[in-house]
Amino acid sequence: MMHSIVPPYLLQKIADADDTRMARASASARRALLARDSIQDARLLSTEKPPASRRESDSGEPGARQSAVGTSPGGGSRHSSEAAPAPTLDRTVYTARNTEQLPGSKVRSEGEAPSSDVTVDEAYDGLGATYRLYDEAFGRNSIDGRGLPLLATVHYGQDYDNAYWDGERMVFGDGDGEVFGRFTASVSVIGHELSHGVTQFTAALDYQGQSGALNESYSDVMGALVEQYQRQQTAGEASWLIGEGLFTPAVQGTALRSMIAPGTAYDDDVLGRDPQPADMANYVETTDDNGGVHLNSGIPNRAFALAAIEIGGFAWESAGQVWYDTITGTLAPDADFVAFADATIAAATARFGADSAKTKAVRAGWVKVGVLEDGAAS
């Protein structure tokens, strides 16, 4: 039996909230409380600065030291004056045995035969597929550019509905079995998580607001490209879905996100509709989820997919290369959408020329989603 706990002043607050998602939910007492908090926190956040750089790794591994902001772009593998180490793929998969203890016990190391556990093998194969994209398409030796060993822990927690990057490793839950199945089931998720590592070692985008949404979007872009590279799909053939097959058959939805059509990945009686905006007109202001980093990422995601499809062919050879050049370039950690868009146009210009069809397609993508204005100089 539900009881309403909404005092009238809270209902007034929610009427004032400019979070359109919140406004739609205004009948709910609990959501009213949230909207009120969101407004308060938005004020606080505008005067507080999140930590600018991430802590250094204490793992003691030589390759695990995280780059500070402003260190050499590209992670050093192609730009270093020292001889670059030969590319080395070094994977280790652990199991947490449904506890939350990390790293758990080692179950498969590099070169070992497949295990009897599909989750372990999906993680191992996904690490390899991600390594291959970065190595073969972009010439990057692992996530730090220096052959950092790739680590994954599977079977984390009980009914754990998530996959995350903890700063040193990927961690995968098995899902609750009702809404989500296991999170290793889509290679796009594995590529996404490892790409958080790439961002950590390069642009180090703050995980908050627009820079956080760009951090998320870069991971989605590379997650999609890992899958496309594995399947040798052109931009026109690709699904542009993130996390396809993660939902159980009980959920009305094909994937967690759609890069080409944000907001359409699912529409379910229990989960509701995919809340991602497809353009700046629908940008979501919220303090949940570090400022909606998993929502507003839909906007740069679509800019990328539009550019890649317009250019045609394999996306990792064109738009993907531009996005990789951007994240390994001179981007500021607090870059917003416009700064990132300008940086992609500069990167496209440097690689393909200002008047190339590729550079024009990149610009057109950002215009279409409302980040840049038509004809705006970069």
Binding site: S4, V6, R30, D37, Y164, G167, D289, N290
Partner: protein, 115 residues
Amino acid sequence: MEQPAERSGPVVAVTVVRSGGFAGLKRTWEATAEDQSSAKDWLGFADSLPWGRVPSQDATSADRFVYRIVIVVRSEVRHEATLPESELTGGWRELVDRVQQQADAPGGSEPHCQA
């Protein structure tokens, strides 16, 4: 329309909102205490937590959950905090577990996801 509650409402309402995660799905759980003794029980536990003294951001990870906890006593907000999943340990974890257990139990408030 829901009726704004006054004296007829619960004495204490504890709301947990989980946002973020890879999927970015928001989910809410709520537990309520309808009588003085269970209200005292909830508040005795809740008041002992270090409200206002937890970092609201986790600077090293990505795709982890974010928890917002709000405790309302007779329609007045008594406590509120936002915690990254990495800080959800000890008493905080116990509080969230208790709310989720009560909300998921038969007769508890319907857990719901909010897209």
